[in-house]
């Protein structure tokens, strides 16, 4: 009895559970010569591609998870499976204790989905009209809607654009409006597929701040996919890395850096723009008088690199950094190929 209660409590702690999920697609194969074309008419050649290969993972309520991987790794497929748009070939999926395939309607009242390159806004209407449409379509109580709209307008800085037609918004403004539209029914779990794609630096920064605030203040579970690893590192506490349909890494960003070796970067600025060769580090970039070196801190200690640099008289400034997460991931992707 106690065990049952314990297991139910544990299940209630999870927002998402994916158990041994496989998603297969059939791809048509055909050469370009005439023989192949005619042979294909009689007996088409196909290849089975595994977008997800027996993956299992769980996400606790209130977690902010980055879901990353190279193109075709299976990120969007997972989001579509979790939101009930697609169904897995094998395995079980549960979001807030519901099966997305069976309980799509119930689930949609409790989750929110934003696809970065798509909009849910009504194009030829002011965004206030889209919000009103959302209220009716999601059957949101008027009082809850008014309160939520008020706080979202403030949170996402929408007061200046709420009466603007969706087609007249910039991409950054449109993304904010789309995010507000998605949040109006107070979803417990949020799926964001490439929410920062195409945004300029400032709009991206705002978007990241909003999402962090949302997770922190409203305890929303957020799963976000992106190609921009630096954005993901700034937003999420945990990163799941996919490669060829398999989970290759699941943990925090520090752990991810440790796995790929402790690659560090050191930048020097010299009086005469010199870029001297070092034994302990290799040059990765030379730009505007700066020379950037890279070294593995497991191989050479920072003090040994600095000792070598101290022999260069013309150095004016030194800056030590961790390798950008983009580089860490790129190295991982290359090693998985």
């Amino acid at each position: 009895m106690e065990k049952k209660v314990q297991s139910a409590t544990q299940a209630a702690d999870f927002a998402i559970k994916i158990d041994n999920v496989t998603k297969e697609f059939k791809q048509w194969q055909r050469g370009s010569n005439i023989k192949d074309i005619f042979a294909n008419l009689v007996k088409p050649k196909t290849k089975i591609v595994k977008a997800l290969d027996n993956i299992s993972l769980s996400v606790r309520k209130g977690e902010f998870v980055a879901y990353a991987g190279a193109n075709g790794a299976g990120k969007s497929t997972t989001i579509k499976i979790l939101s009930g748009i697609m169904h897995p070939s094998k395995g079980e999926v549960s979001v807030l204790g519901l099966d997305p395939k069976v309980d799509r309607i119930k689930l949609m009242k409790r989750i929110g989905v934003v696809f970065g390159q798509r909009t849910e806004l009504w194009w030829d209407h002011p965004i206030a009209a889209s919000f009103d449409w959302k209220r009716v379509t999601w059957n949101i109580e008027k009082k809850d809607y008014d309160n939520r709209l008020e706080s979202l307008v403030e949170l996402l800085d929408l007061s200046g654009i709420i009466n603007t037609f969706a087609r007249e918004l910039s991409l950054g403004q449109r993304m904010r409006a789309d995010l507000a539209l998605m949040l109006l029914h107070n979803p417990e779990v949020i799926f964001l597929d490439e929410p920062t794609l195409g945004l300029d630096v400032l709009a991206k920064r705002h978007m990241i701040e909003y999402l962090k605030k949302l997770n922190r203040e409203q305890d929303a579970t957020i799963i976000v996919t992106s190609h921009d690893m630096d954005d993901l590192e700034e937003m999420a506490e945990r990163i799941i890395l996919l490669s060829n349909g398999n989970i290759e890494f699941d943990g925090d960003f520090e752990k991810l850096r440790r796995i790929t070796g402790s690659i560090c970067r050191i930048k020097i600025y010299t009086e005469n723009g010199q870029h001297p060769n070092l034994e302990t580090a290799t040059i990765v970039k030379v730009e505007n008088g700066f020379t950037e070196y890279q070294f593995d801190s497991n191989k050479y200690s920072i003090s040994s690199v600095l000792k070598e640099l101290s022999g260069i008289d013309t150095i004016l400034d030194v800056e030590i950094n961790k390798a950008p997460i983009e580089q860490v991931i790129a190295e991982l992707y290359t090693s998985w190929k």
């Binding site: 939101s83 748009i85 697609m86 309607i105 949609m108 909009t119 209407h125 009209a129 009716v136």
Partner: protein, 280 residues
């Protein structure tokens, strides 16, 4: 059931509101829309009067009978336009072929409910309906017809059946887009075009085989000629129950194929996405 009806009405109401907001979004646009609609309606009415004169006594129908049939066709078209023509259910292959079903699947309502309510345009799309109503009343008066409540119910049911036939026929072809999204994207336009171009022709002069062909396999006769002839009490070579049989059969085939296609969509997903025509 009561909840579903309530949801349907509230969804239709919000789309009607969006349509009104769109129509009156600025004075210039509103005036231009009304002028364009008036011109289009006027040409429809004139075209119908000319056709009714041209087809006098063709297929066993007098010019007033033809006028009634064309009025009926306009009513069907008008209702179809108001409910299904704004890039939604009437053009299902576009939604499927452009990967836009994803948008529908993330809403907390049954898919059928979204499909029949989204894009309801009672204000900007009512001109054809008003024309149809006017022509039907005018031709009925000329024919000396007085509809009882029962006959009015039959008229409404016939219109509903005609619309189901057109929708189902379009849906059956639209299902191709599940399997060939690019090639099948515009197939619903062609399927609807068949009715649009041919529904106004009286089929009474054809042999029973051709009449059967044009009321079952290519059911253009079900959009106007067959129901109008029944309502006018004209003698038909085809059985009186044919409309119900064809409507039910096509609806069942369409629903079955759509469900099958939707299952495929769930397995395969959409291999393309285009926002063209989505919510504008």
């Amino acid at each position: 059931m009561a909840d579903s009806i309530k949801r349907l009405i509230s969804l239709w109401a919000i789309h009607a509101k969006l349509d009104l907001l769109w129509l009156i979004r600025d004075t210039k646009n509103c005036v231009l829309n009304i002028i364009a609609d008036l011109t289009s309606s006027l040409s429809t009415i004139l075209g119908i009067f000319l056709l009714s004169q041209r087809f006098d006594n063709i297929g066993g129908m007098s010019s007033d009978h033809i006028l009634f049939m064309l009025g009926y066709a306009c009513l069907v078209d008008g209702i179809f336009l108001m409910f299904f023509m704004m890039n939604n259910t009437g053009f299902l292959s576009r939604i499927i072929g452009r990967g836009q079903l994803d948008h529908k699947l993330i809403q907390p309502n049954p898919l059928w409910m979204q499909l029949i309510t989204e894009g309801f345009i009672p204000f900007s799309g009512s001109s054809m309906f008003i024309c149809g109503l006017g022509i039907t009343i005018y031709s009925s008066m000329r024919l000396g017809l007085s509809f009882s409540i029962f006959q009015l119910i039959i008229l409404v049911l016939s219109i509903v059946c005609s619309i189901i036939v057109i929708l189902s026929f379009s849906c059956i072809f639209s299902c191709i887009a599940f399997y060939a999204p690019v090639a099948g994207e515009e197939v619903s336009t062609s399927a609807y075009g068949l009715f649009d171009q041919l529904k106004g022709f009286p089929l009474g002069g054809f042999t029973i085989y051709l009449q059967a062909l044009f009321t079952t396999v290519l059911p253009i006769g079900m959009a106007a000629w067959y129901p109008a002839s029944l309502l006018l009490g004209n003698e038909l070579k085809l059985p009186n129950y044919l409309m119900i049989v064809v409507t039910l059969s096509l609806a069942i085939i369409a629903i079955t194929l759509f469900k099958k296609g939707l299952k495929y969509y769930g397995e395969k997903g959409s291999i393309r996405y285009s926002s063209r025509g989505f919510r504008n």
